[in-house]
């Protein structure tokens, strides 16, 4: 295909991506370097019958004029990144100096909004991903041994948790796990604690969001592994049987190595997607116990005052996080490409 033809074919999609993905990326980086203007203060001497006194008031028109003239705000360099709402360098240094134990240090750090969100986001990402892969693998192995007619049915129901809107799915689970819901009732009956409530306990909240994550994404792993099992060569399996491998050894030494590339694929996709965890926090109304990076951005953008600069800064930090997670894939793709050409 000629360069020219390629250009015209690719133009619409390229333009859409440049305008609505690449340009906003540049924009959030720029915005994160600026902070909103502070109000302009004027000091006027107010003289009355009881003498004069100085008063400082906000000069509304001057403030408006300044905001109009420089809508980006004032340039502050990296200071938004370092403030308390983000990397909180001063607070971390202070905590490091004053804390007597590592535990106390992490306790202090955990109270800073950014690190709190980061802690949950990373926990969610790295706990959910392996567990959902394991669950998906076992479902795939079990379903594969079912009768052909049943497989379709099981796949149909298995797809539901994955296909359903994340917010809707998390609400459905939340209403059941809620202390008034059927599972919440069951739990408090089993634990023999009538006051057991999800809303009051951070560990319970974390666990249930992670369970939601596994419930939501295990079907994806299942479907991919199941498809992989269909392409498994029969002769290696038979050879293993002739050599006297037990059922478990067949799975361990024949099936798992065959599925390994798919495991990597699922792991990378899921790391990427779990890192953006957001909807379950809204669905479970978990703000008090668990926040994520995406949730912070959402929270800064919504509400009465839109803190664009703060949101942009968290956005940039999130993108950096994604880039770190993605780097192994990029390196691998680059090697493949090098190998081919």
């Amino acid at each position: 295909m000629k360069h020219r033809t390629f250009f015209w074919f690719f133009l619409p999609t390229g333009l859409a991506m440049i305008l609505f993905i690449a340009a906003p990326l540049v924009s959030i980086i720029t915005q994160s370097l600026f902070a909103p203007h502070e109000a302009v203060f004027v000091t006027v001497e107010n003289c009355g019958p009881f003498g004069c006194k100085e008063e400082t008031t906000i000069d509304q028109s001057a403030t408006a004029a300044l905001r109009e003239a420089e809508p980006m705000g004032r340039f502050v360099g990296l200071s938004v990144y370092l403030d308390r709402g983000h990397l909180a360098v001063a607070e971390v240094a202070e905590a490091w100096r004053t804390s007597e134990s590592i535990g106390e240090f992490f306790g202090t750090i955990y109270n800073l909004p950014f690190y709190r969100a980061l802690a949950f986001t990373l926990t969610y990402t790295f706990v959910c991903t392996p567990l959902l892969i394991i669950l998906g693998f076992f479902i795939a192995i079990s379903v594969n041994s079912l009768h052909r007619h049943l497989k379709g049915l099981v796949i149909f129901f298995s797809l539901l948790p994955m296909i359903v809107t994340p917010l809707v799915g998390s609400l459905i689970l939340f209403w059941m796990i809620d202390s008034r819901g059927v599972l919440g009732n069951l739990l408090s009956y089993l634990a023999d604690d009538p006051d057991l409530s999800l809303k009051a306990s951070s560990p319970l909240m974390w666990t249930s969001i992670i369970i939601y994550g596994i419930w939501n994404s295990a079907p994806f792993a299942f479907v991919v592994f199941y498809a992989g099992l269909q392409t498994q060569p029969k002769d290696t399996l038979e050879a293993a049987q002739i050599d006297g491998a037990t059922r478990w050894q067949q799975i361990r030494f024949v099936t798992i190595p065959h599925l390994m590339p798919l495991v990597t694929f699922v792991a990378l996709i899921q790391l990427m997607d779990n890192f953006r965890v957001f909807e379950p926090i809204v669905g479970f109304s978990a703000q008090a116990h668990a926040t994520s990076l995406s949730w912070i951005i959402f929270n800064d953008l919504g509400g009465e005052t839109q803190q664009l600069s703060a949101a942009a800064t968290t956005s940039v930090l999130t993108v950096i996080g994604v880039a770190i997670l993605l780097s192994p894939v990029l390196v691998r793709t680059w090697r493949d490409f090098k190998g081919r050409s």
Partner: protein, 293 residues
Amino acid sequence: MSSAANRKPLPLKIALWSFVAIWLMMAAFPFLWTLWGSFKVELDFFSIADWTNALTGDNTERTHGTPFTGAGYEGAWVKEGFLRNIINTGIVCIFVVCTSLTIGTLGGYALSRSGFKYVFWLLIAALIFRAIPPITLVSGYLPVFFQYNAWGYLPTAIIVLVAINQPFTLWMLHSFFESIPKELDESAKVDGCTQFQAFRRVIIPVMWPGVITTGLFSFLLAYNDFAVTSMILNEDNRTMVPQIAAFLGTTQTEGNVMFAVAAVVSATAPLFVLVLFFQRQIVSGLTAGAVKG
């Protein structure tokens, strides 16, 4: 494969069966429970006193005379105007799917037929764009949309969703077009067609399976999006998912959780139908990336 060596011992069979049964329960039960409960009053749906109330609907019977009531649906659809949001979602989904397939097909086809080095870099860029959480881009959109007075309208949301959709669409269609033999359009070009004519007359007739699969995933992305649509649509133009989130803020205090429950069931129903009819395409779409990958 029905040799004696492959026949499973009974305990293993039972274990496998019960594992599948437990998973099925986990996957399907929450949906059935919520569907059943959506026809009850709140006291039954959240039954503190006795959980069997949720099954029998004692309080529902006391309030409405029958164990099933459409009050939640009536409240959501009529009183809260959820129908408006359903129509908005419909508009957004139709336009997003059509637009993103049109431009994605052209782009994906071009990527699969051009052997130059920049194809690799474009695909890598698309992969990076795919990995970026859409919500991080929102603070880049807002100032511009405010400035040009584009904030809050459906077309804005449609364009943004199309763009967010593109990286995934491109990857999927690129690998699909790779599987269509190049000889097809090469021979059309030998016969005197331009590249576009070859695309139109030879490729378009055979591309539908891949396009339908990709379209399903575009649809799901547009339908399921919460982070972006809730930020760039105003109250009148909200789609279903942001509206459900809004229900949580307003109706929970008024004791009308059942509106939200009814809305949630209404939003799940189309997806249920979708899986029913397109199960095969969804499965093949999920695995296409993996097999290539």
